[in-house]
Subunit: 198 residues, 4 copies
Amino acid sequence: MKNNHSKSEDKHQRIIKAALKVFAKKGFYNSRVSEIAKEAEVADGTIYLYFKNKDDILISVFETEMMKMISNMKKELSKCHDPVEKIRIFAFQHLNMITENQEWAEVAQVELRQSSKFMREYVKDHYTDYINIFAYIIREGQEKGIFKEGINTGIAKRAFFGALDEMGRYWVLSRSKRYSVEESSEQISDMFIEGVMK
Amino acid sequence: MKNNHSKSEDKHQRIIKAALKVFAKKGFYNSRVSEIAKEAEVADGTIYLYFKNKDDILISVFETEMMKMISNMKKELSKCHDPVEKIRIFAFQHLNMITENQEWAEVAQVELRQSSKFMREYVKDHYTDYINIFAYIIREGQEKGIFKEGINTGIAKRAFFGALDEMGRYWVLSRSKRYSVEESSEQISDMFIEGVMK
Amino acid sequence: MKNNHSKSEDKHQRIIKAALKVFAKKGFYNSRVSEIAKEAEVADGTIYLYFKNKDDILISVFETEMMKMISNMKKELSKCHDPVEKIRIFAFQHLNMITENQEWAEVAQVELRQSSKFMREYVKDHYTDYINIFAYIIREGQEKGIFKEGINTGIAKRAFFGALDEMGRYWVLSRSKRYSVEESSEQISDMFIEGVMK
Amino acid sequence: MKNNHSKSEDKHQRIIKAALKVFAKKGFYNSRVSEIAKEAEVADGTIYLYFKNKDDILISVFETEMMKMISNMKKELSKCHDPVEKIRIFAFQHLNMITENQEWAEVAQVELRQSSKFMREYVKDHYTDYINIFAYIIREGQEKGIFKEGINTGIAKRAFFGALDEMGRYWVLSRSKRYSVEESSEQISDMFIEGVMK
DNA sequence: CATGAATGAGTCTTCATTCAT
DNA sequence: TATGAATGAAGACTCATTCAT
């Protein structure tokens, strides 16, 4: 059933995985399509049977990983119904995913911020979807009367995500991990929780 | 008096300014040295009288702007002695600088995160200097007994900076400005202040 | 049978041949890689599939031609066992090869003497191999008791080769050929033979 | 009297001397006009007050040195009237000049052979003048009835010069000097003398 | 005469993409 | 589908030469 083109599926996935690895190591502009091909153990030309061009590979990498993050986060949050607790879960999950997928973290750190043409639009939607998960939590808390009404979710969601993201950047760039996922997520969520609670 | 080499100074500065503009518009890798030269109204070769290579231009842009930000922020903070108020000033100033220097904001968003070779080291020091300004505020507040002892400044400074930075990214990427500097800085600093105060 | 990679072989050889032609006409430094490509009827980039860089092309031209000369000379000499006659053959063959391969003669005249980096070492070995062919003849003559013992082969081989080489230079530079290969080689070998014989 | 522009004379000579040094070390094409200027302790632009262009510098270097060689050789030969002895003197003097002016030797080895445009003509005359000094010796010997009539001076002069020149090349390239000027010149001239004498 | 900052034409080389097999 | 040799457009950088001072 899914086997009729499983070989192709394989190759498609293999290229994305290879690209993620290569992009993480060298950055998009310093990565060579031929390197990705080599890493994926396919011929250079084969890449172009699955992707329109180099940009398209990045987009695919991006979509693949972003969807993994979103579905993963949603799954974790669905286990719980307390907005306060959800904030803690979000923080922990986010940092945890980052540390468990360093390659993606490296790529995301840079590419999400590329101001270049195509990324702007492609990125925004998925990115917004992810970040809005947090916005819903805030709104939920406000609806339940636990969080301040005055909190602007548009600002708060970015502030919270930015805080976590910066922590991730630190880990990615310094490659050190002086602060554990547990401590970091706890401190950050504690600060936020106090900041948003009535 | 200061005119004895003002022409060279001029040209050096002109190139940096031009580079900032071009990098902001196209990103480092999509910028052409010849474009920078054109923008600076000098010949292509002239660039190489002032800079070792294209990378060197970026580094210079970076150092120039980063030092402006640091000295500016320090100046603004020196006017006040209340840690709580300082947090507000930091938030406001940071967002304000970003909106007033969109070009630098664009460049910083991307290039500071480039994981490529030379940037890693160059960036880190200045970046740390800047972010540590906030760490000192927290520590000051702790010493004065206003802020919780349990706050880990290493985490808090990143969380706070990240929150502001993400707000900046939003402005840069979306080019919209639904939230004003005032509202954004107030919301973000308020949340943090409540998060760190005893 | 030999066709399995004859196309690549072809291209490699074609580039070398084209380079020889272009180098001969303009000299290495005044030759453009794009000219070589054009002459070889390949794209500029194709050159770099077969050669590391421009220098590498020169080295390959050099090795190709030098090996031809050496094997050719050895073949001709193997037909004869008289050292005196061998001197005559060497002289004739050398001048003959030069006139039959003007392009190589032009390149060799200049590039073998380039004091630049890479050539120094590359050239020396092949060059020494070639010139030593003559040294063996002298030594052979000495062993057979025909040539003077006092002849220093290190000096004699260079003197003889230099004499022939200068004749070749004359032909190359003046493009005239007032003296025939036959007369030139005879006169030069005669002088040498009398000079070295007991 | 000659002082009114002795400073200019100075500079002209200084540049030639500097150029000789730089050309010797790097070769013409790898030498930079700015290096020559630096070596001569003048400004880059100053070079162009004394020379039309880079090529012109080489020509001047060439003419200066070649004239020195010719006048020097003639002076030495004028002391003696025996053609046989003159051959010995020529050989010794040539090799001696080469070893005493390594820089010129380096330049001459390469540049005399440059097939490029301007050199072809410029070089030829001086070069011929020099080499003809030897032709005269042969002819003189033939007139005196000492040397064989059958010797073709056009060939012999090149053979002899070539022999010496090759020895010079060996010293220049290998930078070793396993054979002394005395031994080398003696062996080479002895061989030739026997080769040309009746 | 002297300077040296400025110029910009010129070239090697890279690498995303194509296409014949 | 898969290959990988071939393409050629594009760009960073160099350096001989000029010219305003």
